[in-house]
């Protein structure tokens, strides 16, 4: 932290000011002039929270993507299909058993299994051939998309939110003060907060697993130098299968999340593949903290954009990607 301030005093100052301004925007009661200029505080706070929770969903998809890339140098363009597959599995389970939690577990296990099959049957056969792997995953994503269209049709599915999660809760954030002096608190959908918390927990658990456990150490070593790691006697193929299963399983969980607060339909696979590509390009390929930061930035940009500049909202995310590619092509938090 201090090293960062010493090395980049100007950037540090800008970041501190930005943080201070956003904290003030979140906690202070807005003066009337500001409300006239940029709209009501409720809208701003909602957009901010939505951006953060959407970032949570993007993180779930992108973390698996970036993990697989980091270890195996394999750009898995069928990742979006795994997302959609997980979502459909989650829908089937929640519709037949009525259990939302069970939907997550089964979706995780089944997509992880698909991931294992992909790794064992496809990627192991063409190890180290980046281009071939990329082409094969594009092909697979098209095949999967058509198979899912055949099985589930073009209808859109929504996973039923469990009753205890429906409706809003009041957060201790004041959005306005009524003329009687009574404060109005922010009401926010509970399900989004729960999903966000879950993705934070998953993120922290992944970070701990990578940095504090033996298997995490092996994975990190594999990211740095696969060949040396294999030479030390680690059975690298098993590590690959494990990581692929985890990454795919996370995409499956994300599918259930996406099916709960958005909806599932053909085309969602491509949308989430694109989103996770943008997220990891912004954050840095292969970096978990990078995926978290990238997901947060893209989520916020989409939501704040949709409120404040609706016409150009779609462009904003790509603009960010272009800027990052121009100024820091390796990504914001890349290791090298």
């Amino acid at each position: 932290m201090t090293r960062f301030i010493e090395r980049h005093p100007a950037w540090a100052l800008i970041i501190i000011i930005a943080v201070a301004v956003s904290l003030w925007l979140i906690f202070a009661v807005w003066p009337p002039g500001l409300e006239d200029a940029i709209g009501r505080k409720r809208v701003f706070l909602n957009a901010l929270f939505n951006g953060i929770t959407l970032g949570g969903l993007y993180f779930l998809v992108a973390s698996g993507f970036t993990l697989i890339f980091g270890l195996m140098r394999n750009v898995n363009l069928a990742h979006g299909s795994l997302y959609l597959f997980g979502g459909y599995v989650g829908y089937a389970i929640s519709a037949s058993t009525g259990s939302w939690i069970l939907a997550f577990i089964v979706a995780f296990i089944l997509t992880a299994l698909v991931g294992v099959l992909l790794q064992v049957l496809v990627f192991r056969r063409m190890e180290g051939q980046d281009l071939r792997q990329t082409m094969v995953t594009i092909g697979l994503s098209i095949v999967f998309a058509d198979l899912m269209l055949w099985a589930c049709g073009g209808d859109f599915y929504q996973i039923q939110t469990p009753n205890w999660l429906i409706g809003p809760i009041e957060l201790p954030l004041i959005t306005a003060v009524k003329s009687s002096g009574e404060p109005v608190y922010l009401r926010y959908p509970l399900v989004r907060l729960v999903i966000f918390l879950a993705s934070v927990i998953i993120g922290i658990a992944m970070w701990l697993a990578l940095n504090r456990t033996r298997i995490g150490m092996i994975i990190r070593a594999g990211v740095d130098d696969r060949d040396i790691l294999a030479a030390t006697g680690v059975r690298i193929q098993i590590v690959f299968v494990l990581v692929f299963a985890l990454g795919a399983g996370l995409a499956g969980i994300a599918g259930v999340v996406g099916g709960t607060f958005q909806s599932l339909s053909p085309g969602e696979d491509i949308r989430f593949l694109l989103a996770s590509l943008v997220v990891v390009i912004v954050g840095g390929m292969g970096s978990i903290p990078g995926a978290a930061l990238g997901a947060l930035i893209i989520g916020l940009a989409e939501q704040l954009g949709s409120v404040y500049i609706p016409t150009y909202a779609i462009v904003v995310t790509f603009l960010i990607m272009v800027l990052v590619l121009a100024l820091r092509p390796q990504g914001l938090l890349a290791r090298r």
Binding site: G153, D155, G267, P310
Partner: protein, 416 residues
């Protein structure tokens, strides 16, 4: 050797039969949005089309109709691509296309490059398609989005007592046209439209849009369709929304009313207007509903046909009946057929339909309210039937022209 000669015989017989039937076939290309946000709408459109074929049959005199279906995704370029493929590769002579507003404008413009062919609009409802620089070979047997809103504004103002409303709609021509019709009538009656929000087609995350809805209005009008509408309702429920709702023609429609999940319950009591009403008692409508229900097993259709099914049914009806009037004669650049299409008066399930000078439908409109049938299924119930709605919505054409074309901000909220 034996295999080879067998293959040759099979091939030559195929060729022979091909030439033998060639003169007796009329090829028709159909497009529908079978991909993307409006997939469900496209699928039900095709069901309406098939219901029409079941009822009317595929024979025209001694000729047989042959259909080729192509898929689009509600974007104009996908529609033009599909239509071009149907014309150039499949050599169709008549087109039944397209489904969605922006597609309609693009296909109408494309129709001008093929004046020898006939284009029959399947279901699209942007005003511009037939109002601005219409193509002489493009015929539309459904009303446009503004016609489909006739009656709604007045009913909301006078009967429901709404004074101030806000709108949320998808950002493209059909919804512009719908909001155009609503605003014109509601503001004409004395109401106020305080805020118009536009979201891109295919928006998934509406949470911020929902947060930005104003609280100080009597009702919120939703001009959304397909997956967008379902996503909106789901998130609206999660956010605990409680406002009165009003709906556009594809919002209050079986495509949404019979979607899975319970978010649609928010729509009970919602006012809407459309070219049809699910519970209309007219025998023609009831017969159509029965034909539709009989044509497909219950899990492969909606409880009652959607607006898209009805539009595809009506358009297919016009296509076949006019073709029968000229006995399948498509000679002389299909001129006899086009003349028959322009003159034909349809006894469509949703009321009588005839065309104006721009080949745009004049038809019947319905103001509806959403009701629960007691078993959890939602239907739109008729509260008012308005016959003979034309494209200028009863305005003098000169006055109507001054209002301007539907867009994000047109018309202004005032009395014209």
């Amino acid at each position: 050797m034996l295999k080879g000669s067998l293959g040759l015989i099979a091939l030559s017989s195929l060729l022979l039969s091909g030439t033998a039937f060639a003169q007796e076939k009329i090829k028709v290309g159909v497009t529908a949005t079978l991909e993307g946000t409006y997939t469900v709408l496209g699928e039900d459109g095709i069901r309406g089309f098939q219901t029409a074929l079941n009822v009317l049959g595929k024979k025209v005199g001694d000729k047989e109709l042959e259909f080729v279906i192509a898929s689009t995704d509600a974007t104009p370029d996908s529609a033009v691509r599909a239509v071009r493929k149907l014309i150039e590769q499949d050599k169709v002579q008549i087109l039944l296309s397209p489904l969605s507003g922006d597609e309609g404008i693009a296909v109408k413009n494309f129709a001008k490059t093929h004046p020898e062919l006939t284009f029959i609009n399947a279901a699209s409802g942007a005003q511009e398609t037939t109002y601005v620089d219409p193509a002489p070979n493009f015929f539309r047997y459904n009303m446009d989005g503004a016609q489909w809103q006739v009656g709604l504004g007045k009913y909301a103002y006078e009967t429901k007592g709404y004074r101030k409303i806000a709108t949320v709609g998808e950002d493209y021509s059909f919804i512009y046209t719908q909001v155009f019709g609503l605003v014109l009538e509601f503001c004409g009656a004395g109401g106020q439209v305080t805020n118009r929000q536009w979201v891109p087609l295919g928006t998934k995350d509406f949470a911020s849009v929902i947060a930005a809805l104003p609280d100080d209005v009597d009702a919120i009008y939703l001009g959304l369709g397909g997956a967008d509408a379902v996503n909106f309702l789901n998130q609206y429920q999660q956010a605990g929304g409680k406002a009165h709702l009003m709906g556009g023609s594809i919002m209050i429609d079986q495509t949404i009313l019979s979607s899975k999940g319970n978010a649609k319950q928010a729509l009970v009591g919602t006012l809407a207007a459309s070219g049809q009403a699910d519970t209309w008692e007219d025998p023609g409508w009831q017969k159509f509903v029965k034909d539709y229900q009989d044509a497909f097993p219950p899990n492969k259709r909606f409880p009652s046909p959607s607006l898209l099914a009805t539009n595809y049914y009506g358009s297919t009806m016009a296509l076949i009946l006019a073709l029968r009037q000229v006995n399948g004669d498509l000679s002389d650049n299909q001129s006899k057929y086009k003349a028959a299409l322009a003159k034909i008066e349809l006894d469509a399930p949703n009321g009588k339909i005839k065309l104006d000078a721009n080949r745009q439908a004049i038809g019947t409109n319905f103001v509806t309210e959403v009701v629960d049938d007691g078993k959890g299924a939602l239907f739109s119930k008729v509260v008012k039937v308005i016959p003979n709605v034309n494209q200028t919505l009863g305005y003098d054409p000169a006055v109507f022209a001054k209002i301007g074309l539907p867009s994000r901000t047109v018309p202004e909220c005032k009395k014209y």
